[in-house]
């Protein structure tokens, strides 16, 4: 008891209790507060824990062990609290930096779009590419040979009136005239000519491109439009094969239950020739819909094959061609072709 009554002993004990209270009570809500806390208690030079250790001799010898342990416990508390506070601070950093209003609009990326003609063209070409068709392109300014003569349009034949033509140069003696192609079919000839330079069929190709018609502009016709042409020349190709590929195409574009019909028609470069209609449901019409023409097709005329040096007894082929605008208008419900060429953003943005 003498020892406990030593004058310094009580003060040291009191200092320990104060220290413990401070350690427990300090508010550690910022990085600065945590730093200051660490320095205040743990610094080797000025830390209060170190300072209290130095006061152990003031305590009665029999209490010194317990006193030392109490200091160590306090030190442990400091370390624990530092750890917890640091972790808490790290965890709460985001929370504390949160913007006042998370419902404000984000920074918009500008919206772009592909033209519906491009979208329809991609749809169409993808179907045929899946069926192993190559893709070719050709010139818009064409000669009479590729656009007409090689496609079995005889000179002075009414078939030439089927496609109103923009001429660039009249026919003269040395060449047959130059014009804006009226269809993508001349590319059939170019492709076959190319293959026959050093090869033989099979030829299996589709041809997208822009074509021109000298027709009055209205809601259903424009002075130019786009087509996709298809050609398959091989041994044993039949009209039944043609029906099959086009049916597959129509199913992809217009649904598994599409109704389609082939009706006889006439194109100089195919024989037999057909036009293909699909049944367009429309409850407002008597009969619940109507037949809509989507493409023309047929078996490649033997004159066309022979004209490019392909043996028309050995090889047969089919060809088809469709207007991309027509398909786009059907699929997207557009009722005036001219709007496709107006490019009003309020129209284009519907296809974003």
């Amino acid at each position: 008891m003498d020892q406990t009554s030593q004058p310094g002993a009580a003060a040291a004990h009191q200092a320990l209790e104060d220290l413990k209270a401070d350690i427990e009570g300090a508010v550690l809500d910022t990085a600065d507060a945590i730093d200051a806390y660490r320095i205040r208690y743990l610094s080797r030079k000025q830390g209060q824990i170190t300072a209290l250790m130095k006061r152990i001799p003031e305590v009665a010898p029999e209490d010194r062990k317990a006193f030392g342990q109490a200091i160590n416990a306090a030190k442990q508390t400091v370390e624990e609290r530092l750890e917890a506070a640091t972790a808490a601070l790290a965890g709460s950093a985001a929370t504390s930096a949160a913007p006042a209003d998370l419902t404000l609009p984000g920074r918009l990326q500008p919206e772009g779009s592909l033209h519906p003609i491009t979208q329809a063209q991609r749809l169409i070409t993808r179907v045929f590419e899946n069926y192993g068709f190559d893709v070719a392109e050709g010139p818009e300014i064409e000669d009479d040979w590729h656009n007409f003569s090689a496609l079995n349009f005889p000179p002075d034949h009414p078939a030439r009136d089927m496609q109103d033509t923009f001429f660039i140069e009249d026919a003269e003696q040395d060449h047959g005239g130059i014009l804006l192609r009226t269809h993508t079919s001349p590319v059939q000839i170019r492709v076959m000519e190319e293959v026959m330079k050093d090869g033989e069929p099979p030829i299996r190709v589709i041809v997208p491109g822009r074509v021109y018609r000298n027709e009055a502009i209205s809601y259903k016709s424009y002075c130019l439009f786009h087509q996709v042409e298809g050609l398959y020349v091989d041994e044993g190709v039949t009209m039944a094969d043609l029906k099959q590929i086009l049916h597959a195409f129509a199913r992809t574009l217009f649904g598994e239950d599409v109704r389609m019909r082939f009706r006889p028609s006439f194109f100089p470069f195919t024989e037999p020739s057909a036009e293909v209609d699909i049944w367009w449901k429309d409850e407002n019409l008597p009969g619940g819909g109507r037949w809509m023409e989507i493409l023309g097709c047929g078996m490649v005329d033997p004159n066309v094959l022979e004209g490019v040096g392909i043996d028309s007894e050995k090889y047969t082929g089919y060809a088809f061609g469709m207007g991309i605008e027509r398909i786009a208008m059907l699929r997207f419900g557009i009722d005036d072709i001219r709007i496709l060429y107006e490019n009003d953003v309020r129209f284009l943005e519907q296809f974003s």
């Binding site: 920074r107 500008p110 772009g112 779009s113 592909l114 033209h115 003609i117 491009t118 590419e129 069926y131 192993g132 190559d134 893709v135 070719a136 392109e137 010139p139 818009e140 300014i141 064409e142 000669d143 000179p155 002075d156 034949h157 009414p158 078939a159 001429f167 660039i168 140069e169 130059i178 099979p202 299996r204 822009r210 000298n214 027709e215 002075c223 130019l224 044993g236 039949t238 009209m239 039944a240 094969d241 099959q244 049916h247 597959a248 082939f262 009706r263 006889p264 028609s265 006439f266 024989e271 037999p272 036009e275 078996m299 005329d301 033997p302 047969t316 060429y341 490019n343 953003v345 284009l348």
Partner: protein, 827 residues
Amino acid sequence: MIISTNWLSDYIAHGLSDDELSDHLTMCGLEVESVDRIGNDLEGVVIGHVLSAEKHPNADRLSVCKVDVGEDAPLNIVCGAPNVAAGQKVAVATVGTTLHLPSRDNPEERVPVTMKKAKIRGEVSQGMICAEDELGLSGAHDGILVLDDAAEIGRPFAAYLAEQGTSTTDTAIDIAITPNRPDAISHLGIARDVSALTNKEICRPAVAIPDAGGSVSQEMSVVIEAEDMCHRFVGIMVKGVEIKESPAWMKQRLIAIGLRPRNVIVDITNYVMYECGQPLHAYDADTLADNKIVVRKAEGGSTFTTLDSKERTLPDDALMIWDGQRAIGIAGIMGGENTEVTENTTNVFIEAAWFDPSSIRRSAKALSLQTDASYRFERGVDAEGQAWAAKRAADLMVELAGGSLVDGMIDEHPVPYEAPVIGLRSHRVIDVVGAEIASDEMARLLTAIGFGVRDSASDAFTWDVTVPSFRPDVEREIDLIEEVARLFGYDNIPEPTHSRIPNFTPGIAVDRQLRERLRDLLSGVGFRETYTNSMLPLETAERFNDAALPGGRFGGGVVETLNPITTEMAALRPSLLPGLLRVAGHNQNHGQQAVRLFEFGRVHTKRATNRTLVGDYTETETLMLLTSGQWAGQHWQHDVRDADLFDLKGVVDRVFSALGLDAPRYKDREASDLVAWGVDILSGKRWMGSLVRVSDAIADEFSLRNDGLVAELDFTALAEAAGATILPRFTPISRSPTVERDLAVVVDAAQPAGPMLEAIRRSGGDLLKDVSVFDLYEGEHVGEGRKSLAFGLRLGADRTLRDKDVDKVIARVVSSLEKEFDAKLRG
């Protein structure tokens, strides 16, 4: 061509409804474009007996009639016709009936009117006593239609008419005739296909064709000088005709198919043409000089007045009809005013000929004159149909115009028709069509449409098929295969269950792949794709044929079309720029603040180059980018900012990197009428396009509300340059860290940064991986007329760089900048 179903029924009792008939026609290759019900079923119109007709008390020209229509009490009807009288049997439209009455403004047009009980000047009227025009029977409105006394009171009027062989309703079917079907441009031609499809007999009007010669050959002579162009000329004469209106039934039919009745003679020639397909011409026989007709070519350049009173300049080689002294008709196209049938005509000479299709087509084209006759001749009329048609017309003239037939017939026939015989292999039909059509079935189908089919002597699997004279389009085996397939029915061809795909390798189509890649990129970075017209006014095309743009760079002329629709579309675009500017102006004037557009398209120039495929024209594909107005729109955190050249430049850089090309170089270009300022875009040494702000004059002209920043790239050249890089090659990633150094130099304020960047890249060598400009400063710290440019350099190698290596590179770069640009390193 329009056909009338009533008329068709004269030749075949097909038993089909209008819809079924249309469907059959369409499915055999005669595409029906429209089906119009015409006329009125006249429901509510009944036969009445006029019991009394008194003068209206309050109107001089009206009568008040009591009319018995078989009901309990007679109707009170006010009638304005002068000829109404007690005792007449008349057609009465009772209250509630709807008639299609001629419009007051335009008698050709009809408007539906429903009868109501009304008071007319104080007198009750319970219906209308009808005139012929009100019933749709004719154009006559002289007075009410008075029926014969035997007509039964109260009977529906339609039933009465049916007994008389007249129908009040008809259906007009418009058929799109393809050029390979000259046989189908008539009611009998259509009936032939209907007969084949329904197995019903055709009933042709009985016509007794006279022998050649006879009295007519004393009265008229025909000489064919141009035998190659006129294989046959048949002439028949009818004397003493009375020129008057045709009977109602004939007028009704002509109106139904869209023709306007003229007089009985002209109407008969039209009627027979639409009946059998053979065009006819009727001359006033008394106007033919020397009683002679000669078929020979025109003297080119001479003029001739056709019966529409137009003077026409004749093309060379036009085939003409002459009399003893002068030209009297353009063969197969239109007759002359000098010999046409007029109201004073009494004697008529009927021409039915076969003219060469190409010759008729050439003349019709040169004259820009297409007629019902030329339409048929240029497709090819039945080579043996002339005599039937001429005699048929003559018979009708005798019957309907009170004429008397001159016996005999002129039949000049220098080139007789020989029916072609074509071999048809039944296995070939199956090879082409892909359906197992029985051989006998093929024969049956061809026989049904008039072909002669017999076994070939040479081959058991071959038919010898004789082509009928009305099918000049059938010349080859494939033509016969088409006929078989068409009648067999395309819908009956079975589809195979599996698709055959040949074993070959599709090509890569580099252009297309790159184009699609750029489309995705550009739409992804906020640009909208457009498609604009390729045709422009010539003046616009010429102004945009500018060396600043890819098309104009070829230095050729603008390509014009010979036959533009309008002058607004007379030339082909040399650049996509005018089209896109128009779109930009349109959108800015419709409230769009931010306009970002792109387009891929072909441009054209008249000059032969190494890209020329056709003639002396160069066609190349360009990619156009346009931005105008806001780049960054309204936002709560940043300000609105208009697009500037550097925005678009960044996009061009992305285009190059998407193509796998090195970043482009930019070089200032001069201002012009088109360009306010801008740069050329180069890939290595190759010019790839330009990036410019269009001049204010151009911006104003296209109503732009903001600066127009545009770039047009030569896509054909870009794709060619990028072709080799379409497949990316992997290079190992360096595991060593890169080193970054900044370098600020002071140069003359006018010194452009581009060449300095190039110098840094060049002098930096392999170790320099990247260089950027991160600061530009002008102001007091660098002195008057100077500026500071700060470059960020990133260096690296497949090893860890030592300071020594880095310092060496930096020293090289600094020395090059000092030497070339008088640059001073900033402290």
